[in-house]
């Protein structure tokens, strides 16, 4: 920052002219043979130079210190055994050595744990941007190298970037990789989870040969187990069994070896598949057109998830008229097809005021019974025909119906009421407008029902006239049967005496029959709100519900007490200590709850590697070194020189002092003071005069 400047006293042409004059005088003197010509010329030039005003200019400089960015990685993967100590020791040693260097500042950057993984790139970019480029003398990162934000890494840096890797040379890990998992699946239809087992690092020979023994659990129930060699991709078919969250947990035990694998936290994964119901097929069989039939149609046709197949017996076999068949819009009831061949296509069969009148053969009823026992559902909405000889109860189907008619029909207005079970049962609990002692308004009445004797194992949820059972549920094999002993639910829809929630009640009955999980009597629900806060709800037909036993991912258990929130509803709020797979149990009901990421990103890869940070180090002439091979020495080298190498005492890394400085002002100093110029010019002139004078003396 220093240099020669000119500040001419006269304008440049005059200075030039003076210089020219000096030269001409010297030439003339030469021509005249004057011996002092050179002195004269120099004197002229000196005069011109003096007029040009030469001055020395220089800046006032302050030396700036060098900055070394020291980055330490404290993400979860750095918590693996030994790594934290390694990091601490390396950071301490580097700090000591760097502080010993003159004019060197240390900038500490700590990469903390982040849900998105280790964000070294972001941290580094931010740290470099915060410092003046000219002062950064080096970057030293103490990490396991497992950065998850490679795109955020700077392409280059103004100084060498050194990566000191933690971990040991013999580190190895076997992990489970879920390559592909569907988020949704149709219930009962298999979906495929693609997975593989991967070995990383210095895998011991005896482990590399052995396949991993995978255990696969669906909702905590052992589904299957199989051996999978590492590196082989497996397509695992899984069948979601119910609506809502189906948790598939896949895992294997840590392989036995002298050096244990780094972590077993990536040996398992929980895949959550949302079970979605396929369109439901409902077969509605109306025994005769009646005022309530359109109620069923309105309900089932307005439900977008239901495909309704409806048959009404418009003309019984024993009635004929003379009308030719081609003037009639009647078709034969395809009973064989519906009740024998395609019965399993239906999720629910509704018998709406169905009378046994020889249309269905006995073997069809047997088949319907089998269908229910194997998981189907029937709903009987019975009118007074139930109390006659044409009752469905007298068919082979009667064996699975939840009640037997006595033959008596109550033809009197009555108010449907929730029974004690009904207040707990999800189908009837919370129906709006239910009769209560203090409520001024309530449902409308119905006018007719049949008397039945319920089976001992049937649940009566609504009662009608004289507290006789009105709505009954029972389970047969794997299927369900619902029975409504009155056909007058349509009066609610019509608004008789104010009506009632007829659509909602029928919808719930139908969906309960089809095993909709939201309407299960015995259910253990867990609503996750926020990260780890869980609201546990136990729905039960029992009067009490014990504490919920929670099994944590590490096998420890705790118990959470439930408080009654309403009839048949017990709730508790609970916060999980951390992410993972929890098992909730109360009585004989349990469920699996996956909280947080199934396999934390930090533990996907665990073997320290310079693969991500290597290119940056190479681009800046830095080094990737393993701390397990010894702490490298620290040197300083000039910019542009290799910043690492192998010395006598081991490997070394270097920082490049930048010699940065700031200029805080300028000084302007004439080259010579005025009197010196005068003396110089005069001296030169005198020298010329002396030379010439002495020569003349000599010649004369």
């Amino acid at each position: 920052m220093s240099g020669l400047t000119f500040d001419p006293l006269l304008s440049w042409p005059l200075v030039g002219a003076l210089a020219l004059l000096g030269v001409l005088v010297a030439l003339w003197s030469l021509w005249r043979g004057l011996r002092g010509w050179a002195w004269r010329g120099i004197a002229g030039l000196a005069a011109a130079a003096a007029l040009a005003g030469p001055a020395l200019e220089s800046g006032i400089r302050h030396k700036l210190s060098d900055i070394v960015i020291l980055l330490d990685d404290r993400s979860a993967s750095q918590s693996l055994p030994g790594r934290a100590e390694q990091t601490d020791a390396a950071v301490e040693e580097l700090t000591r050595q760097l502080s010993a260097l003159p004019d060197t500042e240390i900038r500490r950057v700590t990469v903390a744990d982040d849900p998105d993984g280790t964000q070294i790139g972001t941290a580094l970019t931010r740290a470099l941007a915060a410092e003046p480029q000219a002062r950064v003398a080096g970057v030293i990162a103490v990490t396991d190298g497992l950065a998850h934000d490679a795109p955020m890494l700077p392409a280059s840096a103004p100084a060498p970037v050194h990566v000191l890797l933690t971990g040991q040379a013999q580190d190895w890990d076997r992990r489970l990789v879920i390559e592909e998992a569907p988020a949704y699946g149709l219930i009962g239809k298999p979906v495929t989870i693609r997975l593989r087992v991967e070995d990383q690092g210095a895998v011991p020979a005896q482990v590399a040969q052995t396949p991993a023994r995978l255990r696969i659990l669906l909702d905590g129930e052992e589904m299957r187990s199989l051996d999978l060699p590492p590196g082989v991709t497996l397509d695992l078919p899984v069948v979601p069994e119910h609506a809502g969250q189906n948790v598939v947990s896949i895992g294997f035990d840590a392989p036995q070896a002298e050096v244990p694998e780094l972590t077993d936290r990536n040996n398992s994964a929980a895949v959550q598949i949302q079970g979605v119901r396929d369109r439901l097929r409902v077969l509605l069989v109306s025994g005769a057109p009646h005022a309530g039939e359109r109620t069923w149609r309105n309900l089932l046709k307005s439900d977008a998830n239901v495909d309704l197949i409806h048959f009404t017996i418009l003309r019984p076999p024993d009635k004929m008229d003379a009308v030719p068949v081609d003037e009639m819009s009647l078709i034969a009831f395809p009973t064989q097809e519906l009740f024998m061949e395609r019965i399993r296509d239906f999720d629910l069969i509704i018998f709406d005021r169905y009378r046994v009148r020889g249309i269905l053969l006995p073997q069809y009823y047997d088949n319907i019974r089998r269908y229910v026992e194997e998981g189907g559902a029937i709903l009987v909405s019975a009118g007074p025909e139930m109390s006659t000889v044409e009752s469905l109860n007298l068919s082979p189907l009667g064996a699975i119906l939840p009640a037997r008619p006595t033959g008596r029909v109550y033809a009197e207005p009555f108010l449907p009421r929730l029974t004690e079970d009904g207040e707990r049962h999800p189908v009837t609990a919370g129906l709006p407008g239910a009769p209560a002692e203090d409520a001024a308004s309530h449902w409308g009445r119905w006018l007719r029902m049949s008397q039945v004797i319920p089976d001992p194992d049937a649940q009566v949820v609504l009662s009608g006239a004289r507290d006789e059972p009105l709505l009954l549920f029972s389970r047969v094999g794997e299927g369900r049967v619902a029975m409504l002993t009155s056909d007058q639910v349509w009066l609610w829809g019509r608004g008789f005496e104010g009506g009632g929630p007829q659509l909602e009640l029928l919808r719930r009955i139908a969906h309960w029959s089809m095993q909709e999980p939201e309407l299960e009597e015995e259910a253990l629900l867990a609503d996750v709100s926020g990260e780890l806060a869980v609201t546990i709800t136990r729905r039960t037909m029992k009067v009490t519900a014990g504490p919920v036993r929670i099994t944590r991912p590490d096998g420890q258990t705790e118990e959470v007490a439930l408080t009654e929130a309403g009839p048949g509803r017990f709730t508790a709020r609970w916060t999980a200590p951390g992410p993972g797979l929890y098992r909730l149990e109360e009585g004989d009901i349990g469920r699996v709850l996956a909280l947080g990421p199934a396999a934390p990103r930090e533990f996907e890869q665990t073997v320290a590697s310079g693969a991500v940070l290597g290119p940056l180090a190479e681009a800046t002439q830095g080094a990737v070194l393993r701390l397990s091979e010894g702490m490298p020495g620290l040197r300083t080298v000039r910019e542009g020189r290799p910043a690492h190498g192998q010395g006598v005492g081991g490997p070394w890394i270097a920082i490049t002092p930048r010699e940065a400085a700031s200029v805080s002002g300028m000084t302007h100093r004439p080259l010579l003071p005025g009197w010196a110029w005068l003396a110089l010019i005069a001296g030169l002139a005198v020298a010329g005069w002396l030379a010439e004078g002495r020569g003349r003396l000599r010649s004369t």
Binding site: A288, P289, A291, R297, K319, V323, I331, L447, L491, R494
Partner: protein, 279 residues
């Protein structure tokens, strides 16, 4: 002075009495149990007798030919009776009939909204040739306060033409040209390969015509027709078609668009094809 106060008070007591749990009208309970057909009592004894006899005749036809077995028809006074227990109301339109009170209209509108159906019959066979549902001034006056959707002549593919019998027209004692029902929505499209448009999934709350159906259906105590239709064999054929319309109408009331369901279409299609060949 007192009187002016008494009237609203009496109304209030009457209303509270209704909302209390008094016994419902046994006739209406029977109607709900037996799907009895009901008619509006007009006050004109001849018309009322014809309505009752007509509905009785139709009930007998239904009982004889179908699974629907209605009980004795009942006469309804919309001023007093609770309509929510009924499914179907036959309403002969007479000039002399006094218009219902506002409360009755509230009840009638609720009846229509909640799935009931009224068959308005101007009983004039549209002789005036006005051709519209409001051709008769009396009907216009009667129906104006009702919540009736936009109407249109029943199209040839309406479910009413095939809810039990296959019908082309809907004769009564007269063979009026058209009967009117809720207009199909503008976006009703013919599904591919199906001869019927998928018309309004709901059921038309009113059917309006003038063919004097009750008179055509009417039978006396001996089961014999009370009114003559046409002449000779043609007349009897028309009476048969009248019954078929009645059956279709009640099936439409009770099963709604059941016959529109796709599941029936292939078989019906087959039959229609055969019919075309026969012609």
């Amino acid at each position: 002075m007192m009187r002016r106060w008494l009237a609203p008070l009496a109304l209030l007591f009457w209303a509270t009495a209704l909302s209390a749990q008094d016994e419902p009208d046994p006739r209406l309970v029977r109607a709900a149990d037996e799907v009895a057909l009901a008619y509006v009592v007009t006050g004109d004894s001849e018309v009322d007798a014809a309505s009752e006899a007509g509905l009785r005749g139709l009930s007998q036809v239904l009982t004889a030919r179908t699974t629907v077995e209605p009980g004795e028809p009942i006469g309804i006074d919309p001023e007093q009776d609770d309509l929510s227990l009924l499914a179907f109301l036959y309403w002969p339109v007479t000039e002399a009939q006094a218009p219902p009170s506002p409360q009755a209209y509230v009840r009638l509108n609720h009846f229509l909204r909640s799935g009931g159906m009224i068959l308005f019959d101007t009983r004039d066979g549209d002789i005036a040739g006005l051709g519209g549902p409001d051709g008769a001034a009396a009907l216009q006056a009667l129906a104006a306060p009702l919540d009736i959707p936009p109407l249109a002549p029943v199209p040839a593919d309406h479910v009413l033409t095939r809810s039990f019998y296959l019908l082309r027209d809907f004769p009564g004692r007269y063979q009026g040209r058209e009967i009117w029902a809720e207009a199909p929505p503008a976006d009703a499209q013919a599904a591919e390969g199906v001869p019927f448009r998928n018309l309004n999934d709901g059921v038309s709350p009113v059917i309006i015509g003038g063919n004097a159906w009750a008179e055509a259906w009417a039978v006396d105590e001996n089961g014999l027709p009370m009114f003559s239709i046409g002449s000779g064999f043609e007349g009897e054929r028309q009476r048969e078609m009248t019954y078929r319309f009645g059956v279709n109408l009640i099936m439409y009331v009770l099963t709604g668009n059941y016959k529109s369901d796709q599941v029936h279409v292939p078989a019906l299609l087959e039959r229609l094809r055969q019919e075309e060949v026969v012609q």
